[in-house]
């Protein structure tokens, strides 16, 4: 996982609440065999509308999504996180995320930032009136900054540490290499092995 310390980029306002994972990535995409290539499936139904915010020239290349409340509800598909990342998003800001989506996103290094609804509104207004405005998401200082806005956010210490260090669960477990090796050395010889007989 890539480390996340601080990120600055343009932002997209998504003024919808209760965006569920079916909207983020529809089910027929789940037959794919990679974690890549989901960008075209992201918000697939909405993107058929030329007026949809992601289709507007001014927001091309934006990397921060400023979403409405209850983002990421519904099914547990990890593909929703992959789709946002594949598209280029580094962080999503909302006043409330669905639990499983948030867990999946932090596992994959997509920073989900919880801010009060009133701050989210101000950010959305800012980037709506000026699409070139930059938003900084600073995990070191736990702060979101944009023109005229400075807002602190919470994130549990363990999750923050893992993101700052770029540690996924696997790298963390690999730090226990010697414990794993010691366990392996003591496994009884009667335990099954899949080597062809």
């Amino acid at each position: 996982m890539e480390a996340f310390t601080t990120h600055t980029g343009r932002a997209v306002p998504l003024r919808r609440s209760n965006v569920d994972t079916d909207q983020i990535i529809p089910a027929h995409w789940l037959k794919k065999v990679t974690r890549d290539g989901f960008e075209d499936g992201l918000f697939e139904a909405w993107r058929k509308d030329p007026e949809f915010v992601l289709n507007q020239e001014a927001y091309k290349g934006a990397t921060v999504l400023v979403a409405g409340p209850d983002f990421g509800t519904g099914s547990s598909r990890e593909h929703a996180v992959w789709a946002l990342q594949n598209y280029g998003f580094k962080a999503v800001i909302s006043s409330r995320f669905a639990d499983i989506f948030r867990g999946n996103s932090l596992k994959n290094g997509l920073l989900t930032v919880v801010l009060p609804q009133e701050t989210v509104d101000r950010l959305q207004k800012l980037v709506e009136s000026d699409p070139t405005a930059e938003v900084t998401v600073d995990l070191v200082d736990r702060e979101v900054r944009a023109e005229g806005i400075t807002a602190g956010f919470e994130l549990d210490e363990n999750a923050r540490w893992r993101l700052l260090e770029g540690l996924d669960d696997i790298s963390l477990t690999l730090r226990e290499e010697s414990a794993i090796a010691a366990y392996e050395a003591n496994r009884p010889s009667f335990k099954p092995r899949t080597i062809e007989v």
Binding site: K31, V33, R35, E78, W82, I170, T173, P188, V197
Partner: protein, 476 residues
């Protein structure tokens, strides 16, 4: 204080324990199939990691595989790509694979036990919720997500949060004609699809001890339909007899050491479960589902329930929706529901005993006019065994279709699907809306009920067949 079976197996696999953190557990056996593994392999590749223990990992193709014309290229390009990806990944990372056409290919949860890889006291994982099947051997076996598949490939461990324990004790004698499938459907109807949430269930009691290994697998398989993390049954002589001589079973001194260990895998007398359920086997009868979740079931002799009879408003609403989807009316006798399709197969009921019990009912009879019956063995080995016993002849003579091994109509990821509005009696495990094909309607049943239903064209048990007595084969 004593420990339960599940706690003993858990404790024996703790690699690292630290205050305020989940336990890191060692995984003895990792099973893979084509649907949930591609992104995990991709993750390894990106991070420059390998598979830590290829000798504890094995893959098979099952979900997408066709059951007809398996020597021809797979028609659906998306399915074909998923299979080709698994083949490429297994070759690249050195993982043993049994592809379509191989003699060991089949549904992942049928393949593991028949190879003797699933053993008592092991931890078994797979990116598939029905991994609970393997608990029949006294293994701690659970389904995992794609990130966790990658985690196990890379480290052979998983950080796991603790679970609660539930005992389901079934005492007494199952009446003639009542099978493991009827029992587990009755259990799920009793405790509900969320009743096992957060628990590892241990099935115990004299009725469970009398079951064959295959029947025990049918029970543990559907633990997930009760919402449980896993299901387990303590290993005993039946387990040891099943395992001895299988390809990957221990041999010689290893066998003796293994059996000595396996015999310790019993819940201590003074152990305490977090929840207990007791069932009297003698009260059970053939059981079928009428709704769209596995908990919406009733004895075959009952009528479709009236949603108004439910006190809980959300259950009432669910029953109304289910009847609407299933095209049923309250009060209709379950025996009068006609079907178009009968499916015998899946990791729940696609093993040799299941095929034997369906064949025993079909022998000398015919599938009713207008009914399509599919027999899909759970694995190629099961298929070969059935052919050696002449079961395929019994099925085809009765007018059923004898197919190649795989998941098939259990979830309809291959061409075996219900058309919209079609109704099936199915020996699989999920009757969700659209599970067997868009708009398809599923009634979950045992292999015997499936066969009797095929003969009569409506939901029925072997006892409804007037022309001859049908004995229950031993074991089921």
């Amino acid at each position: 204080m004593g420990r339960t079976l599940a706690e003993k197996v858990w404790d024996d696999h703790v690699v690292r324990r630290a205050e305020g953190e989940p336990d890191l557990l060692f995984i003895d056996l990792h099973l893979l199939h084509e649907v949930t593994s591609p992104q995990a392999f991709d993750g390894l590749r990106k991070a420059g990691r390998g598979v830590r223990r290829t000798d504890l990992t094995i893959a098979t193709e099952d979900h997408n595989t066709p059951t007809l014309d398996i020597d021809k290229p797979i028609a659906d390009p998306v399915s074909r790509t998923q299979l080709e990806t698994l083949r490429k990944n297994c070759a690249e990372f050195g993982v043993r694979l049994h592809p379509l056409g191989d003699v060991e290919q089949g549904v992942v949860h049928v393949v593991g036990p028949q190879l003797g890889l699933t053993q008592p006291g092991t931890t078994v994982v797979c990116g598939d919720s029905h991994t609970s099947t393997h608990g029949a051997f006294g293994a701690l076996a659970f389904g995992i997500g794609t990130s966790q598949v990658e985690h196990v490939l890379a480290t052979q461990t998983l950080p796991m949060a603790p679970f609660k324990t539930m005992a389901i004790t079934v005492e007494g004698e199952l009446p003639q004609g009542v099978t493991a499938k009827d029992l587990i459907l009755a259990i799920i109807a009793k405790i509900g699809t969320g009743g096992g949430q957060g628990y590892v269930i241990e099935y115990r009691g004299s009725a469970i001890e009398k079951l064959s290994m295959e029947a025990r697998m049918t029970i543990c398989n559907m633990s997930i339909e009760a919402g449980a993390r896993a299901g387990m049954i303590a290993p005993d002589q039946t387990t040891f007899d099943y395992l001895q001589g299988r390809d990957h079973a221990p041999e010689d001194e290893d066998w003796d050491a293994a059996v000595a260990y396996w015999k310790t895998l019993r819940t201590d007398d003074d152990a305490v479960f977090d929840a207990e359920v007791v069932i009297d086997a003698a009260t059970l009868s053939p059981f079928v589902t009428w709704g769209t979740n596995p908990g919406q079931g009733a004895p075959l002799s009952a009528n479709v329930p009236d949603p108004a009879s439910y006190e809980d408003p959300s259950e009432r609403f669910a029953a109304e929706k289910a009847l609407e989807y299933m095209g049923l009316t309250a009060g209709q006798p379950l025996r009068e529901i006609s079907v178009d399709t009968v499916f015998v197969g899946s990791c729940t009921n696609g093993r040799i005993e299941d095929l034997r019990s369906a064949a025993a009912v079909l022998e000398g009879r015919s599938v009713a006019e207008g009914v399509r019956m599919l027999i899909v063995p759970g694995s190629v080995r099961v298929s070969l065994e059935a052919v050696a016993e002449g079961l395929d002849k019994v099925f085809t003579a009765a007018g059923a279709e004898w197919r190649h091994a795989g998941c098939s109509m259990c979830l309809g990821m291959n061409p075996d699907q219900l058309a919209p509005g079609e109704r099936s009696a199915s020996t699989s495990n999920r009757n969700f809306e659209g599970r067997q094909g868009k708009g398809g309607r599923t009634h979950l049943v045992s292999p015997q009920v499936a066969a009797a239903t095929a003969v009569l064209g409506h939901l029925a048990s072997p006892a409804d067949l007037s022309d001859a007595d049908v004995a229950t084969p031993a074991g089921v």
